[in-house]
Amino acid sequence: MKQTLITTLILAALCGGAWAQPKVNGSAPTREKRGYNQRVAIDTAHVRVLYALNAKDIKDESTYLDLGKLEVGKQVWKYSSEFVYSSDLKVTEWVREKGYKGNVPKTAFIRGEKSDKWSELVYSDYTIRGKQLEEQACFPLWAERENSSYTEPWPLMQWTLANEQLSILGHRCQKATCRFRGRDFVAWFAADVPIKGGPWKFGGLPGLILKVSDVQNIYVWEAVAIEHGTYPIMQYPDKLYPKSTRKSVWQRQKKYNEDYRNAIGWTSLEGRPMPPKVRFEPLEKE
């Protein structure tokens, strides 16, 4: 009796833990529909901050879900995925060398842990111009027709500053908390770096955000590098991402995350039942 109780408790704990992970659902999209080789430079950045998303071991990038980069230019700031960008560069070079007109394997050259999966945090580009944020959202395989973009005012979070401090990347960071679209977040920002931005849509703090996560640690961004150099800020062409609204994009992203196969209209030829809906924890709950 006692044994079964303990086993059940352990199993429940494990399942509970498993449920707390966001299941990256859906397959990675085809790069041609994303416009991988049609990016153009819209500004030049001299500072770039790299963030590891959901890293199991901060020193080993093959355990990251994504390596994102925040590029700080004069008029434009942008957060996007460096794994996706560098794999695009490699594919462009590979195609040019081999003169290959066929298909390059979809997940060739993409690094990170779940490289064959789609997540809106990996495949969306967030461009900030002044007080407006534009998201160019790319949807997973077979759903690329849904690719769209929208703009919303930025920054949106109302932060409360706290007194605790933490050292990240050699900078002394102060803690700040906020509640944003149904989730509570904790951020650590470096006041000695006068950039009011951070990963994803985070920003508005008097310093660069070096670590931010939700209180349940489902989504954790941590800065792994601050680099100098000349980085052209590249953007996908507008015609591949027609204008839409945030609500519409958010609902569709939720749909593809929760029940990918139903959403793309997949049916089993052998009459097998659909896999159950996944318990998905979206970053924006509303």
Binding site: A41, L67, G170, P194, L205, A225, I226, H228
Partner: protein, 679 residues
């Protein structure tokens, strides 16, 4: 009891209320303009920010906070201004910041085990994002793109490196005259500007040779492709002008205005860019002082053709220029007419024809006056006034065949260059002494006419083939140039009443041929050895005749008729070791060099043969992205040239007559150099 608690709470509230501090003010730069910034406040010591606020449109901010500390640190920070801090007492006050722009100082840190490298080498700039008000042609927008610099003469550099190729839609129509593209293609027709780093134009060598060259490619909008676009521009005006003609105009009259009227400027530009054919034809002319020939400057040449330099040490003396901008002092009548056509019958083959004609008539005037005080009561006055008219007619035709395939490269370029130019100069020189003992030293009128046509033709052939893993390169270039020039000078001395005339004829030919082959062997990824045989021949035929000059010595020669030839056969070997960061190369060429001189007037024939060895060593090490180390050493000798071998007098200009003859042609100097550069 309750009352005690309430009083205590009220007391606390009172203390809390009185402890709230308000600091407000403005953040502005030295000119009083507002700056984008945010202001934050932290108690002195802990550094934990209490509150922060953005500055509004007027640069005003307001902070309200409560703290126990006696003093606080208030910081105004922003991307463009960095961080400015002030320490103040913890009480309500007004605090203004006057800041200036400064670059952000950030340490570069990384925690990951490896760094990501950028390995794409094509960078695209969206023209729409960089275009500003007033930009009409693509050359104006290129100036705004970071990394790209456009010099005054139209030359383009990327990150300090001169570009080696300029393409429009991946085709090189203009063959180095890219000023025609940057000054005439509308900015609204170009979609993106691509910068191609590590560019290797020869498809065969793309995986074999690491190239450090940079190229630019313009990608046009679909609306600009496949259509014939014609732009025209006409302008006119008038200015105060005077009569101007050598010989008729009174030279001592400095009141009459010179210049031309009416003024005119005209342009007709036609362009066609399609997938298999490109054409750019244009005509530009003006007499308003614009030097249109600048657009025809050839910034790079597609082949190494043999250089032709027919010998002519004679020239007319021209009036000096002023230091003012050329557009204000250039009295011209310039026209250019150019036609550039490119056909691409299939993916790898190209046929090109480039014709450029430049016609100009340039007038110049210069004068100088010298006034010297010889003693208390006498002065020496010397004056020189010159007017000149230069007529230029340059025609340049280049025909090209290219086959650039992954399995072989063939190129053949035929160039024809003709000039028929002349200078006509009219000068008045006077010199006299005034004062107690006046004397007139001379009052001479000098008329010069220098007729200087020239013709050169050259053909260059180049092929690169693969033999297994190694490459074989063959290059052959031959050319002929002819320069029959005549300088006629007439000097009228008004004082002595005499007139002298000199005529110098120089008729020179230059035949040059150069042949070289090289065979490059790759051993592994890093070693490259190349061996080659090369042969060059330079034949100079010089016939000169001088009339009207009385030489100082008797029986001195006034004409020349000689052939001065040099022949060289060389065996070259180079050894290279190359990694992406390090390069070292050793060259050990061995040359057999022969010079012959055949002087038909003195019936003199000489020949000299030398065996020359010129070793050289160079190394280049990229320590990091911004630090290079460069070192080299070489040994070379120079041997005589035709300037030292003519024994008959040649008039260089009306003031100098010279001859020179060196008894024996021998190596003049040897040089050893070692260089070291840390960038």
């Amino acid at each position: 009891m309750h009352r005690l608690i309430i009083t205590a709470m009220l007391a606390f509230a009172a203390i809390a209320a009185s402890a709230q501090t308000v600091i407000e003010g403005t953040v502005a730069d030295a000119q009083g303009k507002h700056v984008e910034a945010y202001v934050s406040v932290a108690p002195k010591g802990t550094g934990n920010i209490l509150v922060f606020a953005d500055t509004d449109a007027k640069g005003h901010y307001r902070l309200e906070f409560t703290t126990e500390a006696d003093s606080v640190t208030v910081s105004a920070s922003g991307l463009a201004i960095g961080s400015h801090t002030k320490q103040v007492a913890n009480r309500s006050q007004r605090l203004d910041f006057c800041v200036k722009e400064q670059a952000m100082q950030l340490k570069e840190v990384t925690v990951r085990a490896q760094k990501i490298r950028q390995n794409g080498d094509t960078l695209s700039y969206l023209v729409g994002a960089y275009q500003q008000q007033g930009d009409r042609v693509i050359g104006d927008v290129l100036k705004h793109m970071p990394g790209i610099e456009v010099a005054d003469n139209g030359g383009i550099k990327y990150n300090g490196k001169t570009i080696k190729k300029f393409y429009v839609e991946e085709m090189d129509l203009l063959q180095g005259r890219y000023g025609l593209a940057t000054n005439n293609i509308n900015a609204s027709d170009v979609a993106t500007v691509q910068v191609l780093e590590h560019h290797q134009p020869v498809k065969m060598l793309q995986d074999k040779e690491l190239s450090d060259d940079v190229a630019i490619n313009l990608k046009l909008k679909n609306s600009a492709k496949g259509t014939v676009a014609i732009n025209t521009m006409l302008g006119g005006g008038a200015q105060q002008a005077g009569g101007w003609h050598i010989g008729k105009r009174p030279l001592t009259d400095s009141q009459a205005a010179i210049g031309q009227s009416p003024l005119w400027t005209a342009e007709v530009v036609g362009m066609y860019f399609a997938k298999r054919r490109q054409n750019m034809t244009l005509y530009k002319g003006n007499n308003t002082g614009d030097d249109v020939s600048k657009e025809l400057t050839q910034h790079y040449s597609s082949v190494n053709s043999v250089s032709l330099y027919p010998f002519c040490p004679t020239g007319a003396l021209m009036p000096n220029g002023s230091g003012l901008p050329q557009k204000r002092t250039f009295d011209n009548h310039s026209q250019i007419l150019t036609m550039n056509h490119l056909e691409k019958p299939n993916k790898d083959t190209e046929l090109g024809l480039n014709i450029a004609y430049y016609n100009d008539r340039i007038r110049r005037e210069g004068s100088s006056v010298g006034d010297q005080f010889v003693s208390d009561d006498s002065r020496l006055l010397a004056s020189e006034a010159m007017t000149s008219e230069t007529k230029l007619n340059n025609l340049n035709i280049q025909g090209r065949y290219n086959r650039n395939a992954p399995n072989g490269f063939v190129a053949n370029v035929l160039k024809v260059d003709t000039h028929w130019n002349s200078d006509r100069v009219d000068g008045l020189l006077a010199s006299e002494r005034t004062g107690t003992d006046p004397a007139n030293y001379g009052n001479n009128r000098v008329r010069q006419h220098f007729d200087r046509p020239q013709l050169s033709v050259s053909n260059t052939f180049n092929t690169i083939r693969n033999i297994g893993k190694n490459t074989f390169d063959l290059h052959f270039s031959a050319g002929y140039a002819h320069r029959p020039n005549t300088l006629t000078v007439g000097v009228d001395s008004l004082l002595q009443g005499t007139s002298t005339a000199y005529t110098q004829d120089v008729n020179s030919h230059h035949i040059a041929a150069s042949f070289n082959t090289s065979y490059a062997i790759r051993v592994g990824q890093r070693f490259r050895f190349s061996y080659g045989v090369s042969a060059t021949a330079n034949l100079h035929g010089i016939v000169t005749d001088l009339d009207g000059f009385t030489p100082p010595a008797e029986h001195a020669q006034l004409s020349n008729d000689l052939w001065y030839n040099t022949y060289c056969v060389a065996l070259a070997q180079t050894y290279k070791y190359e990694t992406p960061n390090f390069y070292i190369g050793l060259g050990l060429p061995l040359e057999l060099y022969t010079q012959t001189l055949d002087d038909k007037i003195r019936n003199d024939q000489h020949g000299y043969t030398h065996l020359l060895f010129f070793p050289s060593l160079s190394a280049n090490w990229s320590i990091s992205r911004d630090l290079w180390l460069n070192a080299g050493a070489n040994y070379s000798k120079t041997v005589g040239d035709p300037g030292g071998i003519y024994s008959g007098y040649i008039m260089s200009n009306y003031r100098a007559f010279q001859r020179s003859y060196v008894e024996q042609l021998r190596p003049r100097n040897a040089m050893v150099s070692v260089r070291f550069k840390l960038l």
